[in-house]
């Protein structure tokens, strides 16, 4: 287990410093997590959910931890202790175990019953370092019965340093509660990120979970959503724009456990240059989950010969009376449309950009948070323009 030894070593030598700079709640879970991590090791490609991403390679460089900043609050609300780590799968997921072992801070967003946050909570993570840096962070969102909250997380990075981020997010959507969680990554090609989201939705609750990867080096996003109460509802949206050597892997599991639940899932990828994308979405309908209504779709635009896309929608049904569909498509830019535009005077680069933008716009249009929707239209266009303007891209487009 050479792969994990540097992290076990890191944990052993830094343990005291970690503990003194973190909350007791986080410290209490470390040993169990370390044990699980040692048992699991980094998942090889033989592990079903990790078959599209080489995890060990991402963790191979020698990352340092920044351990001298104490968390903003040493005292966590009571409710955090009763929920922390109860959804996250430490025993079976190596990344979750590693994160729990090394975690330095947790952000807790707690909305008491029937309360409504008028404005979205925005979390901005900006990575900045002069040496290769690893950070392990945690987010806990709890919306009690009837509560409403929107959370927007943005990941950015400054400077061309190597970064590795692990994040575990646990989301509790209470009865009739409404949670929207927007995760947006706009970093750079030397950023590696592993984000594990674990969510549970109670009866009549709603969860929107969106993952936008505008720019990154390697991103692996995993979302496990459990619909545990009658009439629970989940909307999962994702959009990945990749180029260069980028790799984006989204892996989702929606578990229909209670009857009468609804899930909608749409992930779209625009994969350019030598980059690669992967989407694996499993919808699991348990025996009790009668009247399940689920639609899952993954559509991908592969822009060059070198670009790669893997797609694997999976539907597993144990109930009798359900309405489920799933599908995926992989296509190229429409040449007839490209020529039509060029006849009207639009340059090839611009025409390609318009078609890519049009492709992505379907996911953007589905975003419930209006201000973000508009902002993303701008960011997506900007992203495509940079890509088209760079020399490499122009060469590839010929």
């Amino acid at each position: 287990m050479k792969d994990i030894s540097q992290y076990i070593e890191l944990f052993r030598t830094e343990r005291a410093l970690l503990d003194s700079h973190s909350q007791a709640l986080l410290n209490a879970h470390r040993d169990e997590a370390a044990e699980a991590f040692m048992r699991l090791g980094f998942p090889s490609r033989k592990v079903e959910r990790y078959r599209y991403t080489d995890v060990a390679e991402a963790f191979a460089p020698n990352y340092g931890l920044k351990l001298d900043t104490p968390p903003a609050a040493m005292n966590l609300p009571e409710v955090a202790a009763t929920r922390y780590g109860t959804l996250a799968n430490v025993q079976n997921d190596a990344i979750t175990a590693l994160n729990t072992m090394l975690v330095q801070d947790v952000i807790v967003i707690y909305v008491p019953a029937d309360q409504r946050r008028e404005h979205p909570v925005q979390l901005t993570n900006t990575l900045r370092s002069s040496v290769p840096l690893m950070q392990n962070r945690r987010l806990l969102i709890i919306a009690e019965a009837g509560a409403e909250v929107q959370v927007l997380q943005t990941d950015k990075a400054e400077g061309g340093q190597d970064f590795l981020t692990t994040q575990v997010t646990e989301i509790f959507v209470g009865e009739g509660a409404h949670v929207e969680f927007y995760d947006m990554e706009d970093s750079h090609s030397r950023c590696h990120r592993f984000h594990q989201v674990y969510a549970q939705v109670a009866a009549g609750g709603h969860l929107t979970h969106t993952t936008f990867t505008l720019a990154s080096g390697l991103s692996r996003n995993q979302a496990d959503v459990r619909l545990v109460g009658q009439g629970a509802d989940a909307l999962l949206l994702g959009c990945a724009i990749t180029d260069g050597q980028q790799h984006v892997d989204n892996n989702t599991l929606i578990e229909h456990i209670a009857p009468g639940c609804t899930s909608r899932e749409l992930y779209k990828y625009v994969v350019d240059q030598q980059s690669s994308g992967a989407f694996a979405g499993r919808v699991l309908v348990r025996q009790e989950a009668e009247k399940t209504d689920s639609i899952e779709r993954n559509a991908n635009l592969v822009c060059t010969e070198q670009a790669r896309m893997w797609t694997q929608p999976m539907l597993e049904i144990y109930a009798d009376d359900v309405k489920c569909s799933h599908g995926s498509t992989v296509g190229q830019l429409n040449n007839d449309a490209l020529f039509y535009m060029r006849q009207r005077g639009i340059s090839e680069a611009e025409a390609r950009m318009l078609l890519k933008q049009a492709f992505a716009s379907e996911v953007l249009a589905a975003i419930p948070l209006e201000a973000l929707r508009q902002r993303l239209h701008v960011l997506v266009e900007k992203r495509f323009r940079n890509c088209e303007d760079c020399k490499l891209c122009q060469k590839n487009n010929r």
Binding site: N334, F339, Y340, R342, L354, L355, Q357, E362
Partner: protein, 250 residues
């Protein structure tokens, strides 16, 4: 303004155009007729630079420039416009974004500033009236879900915005009902300046009743085998093409 000399072109390795000669001066309307598969659309596509077609011989000059050396978008900026026989649907790209990109690319080519948002919208509105295009259509994605006739009307709408000097209308009349045909053809005539030339490809005289050609050409087997005045179209309408074939054979 457009001079085609001994033009040969292939598609998928098959020679379709076998020596086309055609000269069009400013302000002239040339009707191009011929049976299905004669190569009329091929000629249009070759002129606008469709990548599927390869020119193997001959030359085309447009306003003194070597047209074949220009990219499709440059040809457009130079004033060449094709109203497609089968316009393409582009889901997700709005008519406004499409036309703004096209118009501003042309203005940039001509060294002009991009049009500001309000002038652009005003222009869209004005031109829409010329072809009586429903505002609902103008707000949709390019051609998405348009009926056959609506697509043709939309072609002329785009022409109105881009103000080309050399228009190729490839069966713009097909799919249009009688009223729509009149509106679209009259729209075209309103948009014409004394300098505007056109190649009008059609199977029927009814379009030529509105857009009166100076010359009528018959394309057969990849060559222009007969040319004449407007009366030739009338004759074809009555007698078909067989007599022309017989004429060539004898």
């Amino acid at each position: 303004m457009l001079e085609i000399k001994n033009l040969h072109a292939t598609v998928s390795g098959k020679e379709i155009l076998k020596g086309i000669d055609l000269t069009i001066r400013p302000g002239e309307i040339h009707a191009l007729m011929g049976q299905n598969g004669a190569g009329k659309s091929t000629l249009s596509n070759v002129l606008v630079g469709h990548p599927a077609y390869t020119v193997t011989e001959g030359s085309v000059t447009f306003n003194g420039k070597d047209l074949l050396a220009l990219s499709p978008d440059e040809r457009s900026h130079e004033g060449l416009f094709l109203s497609f026989q089968q316009p393409v649907e582009i889901p997700g790209v709005s008519m406004a974004n499409f036309m703004r990109a096209a118009l501003n690319a042309k203005r940039k080519y001509l060294g002009q500033e991009p049009l500001d948002a309000s002038s652009f919208l005003k222009l869209m509105r004005e031109k829409r009236k010329v072809v009586e295009l429903d505002s609902k259509l103008a707000n949709r994605s390019v051609n998405e879900g348009f009926s056959g006739g609506e697509k043709k009307r939309n072609e002329i709408y785009q022409m109105a915005i881009l103000e080309p000097t050399m228009c190729i209308l490839d069966e713009t009349d097909s799919g249009l009902d009688v009223d729509a045909l009149r509106i679209v053809a009259e729209g075209f005539n309103k948009l014409r300046t004394p300098e505007t030339s056109a190649i009008v490809i059609t199977h029927y005289q009814r379009l030529l009743d509105y857009i009166k050609p100076n010359f009528v050409h018959v394309l057969l087997g990849g060559r222009i085998v007969k040319s004449g005045g407007p009366e030739l179209a009338l004759e074809i309408e009555q007698r078909g093409f067989d007599w022309i074939k017989e004429e060539i054979e004898s």
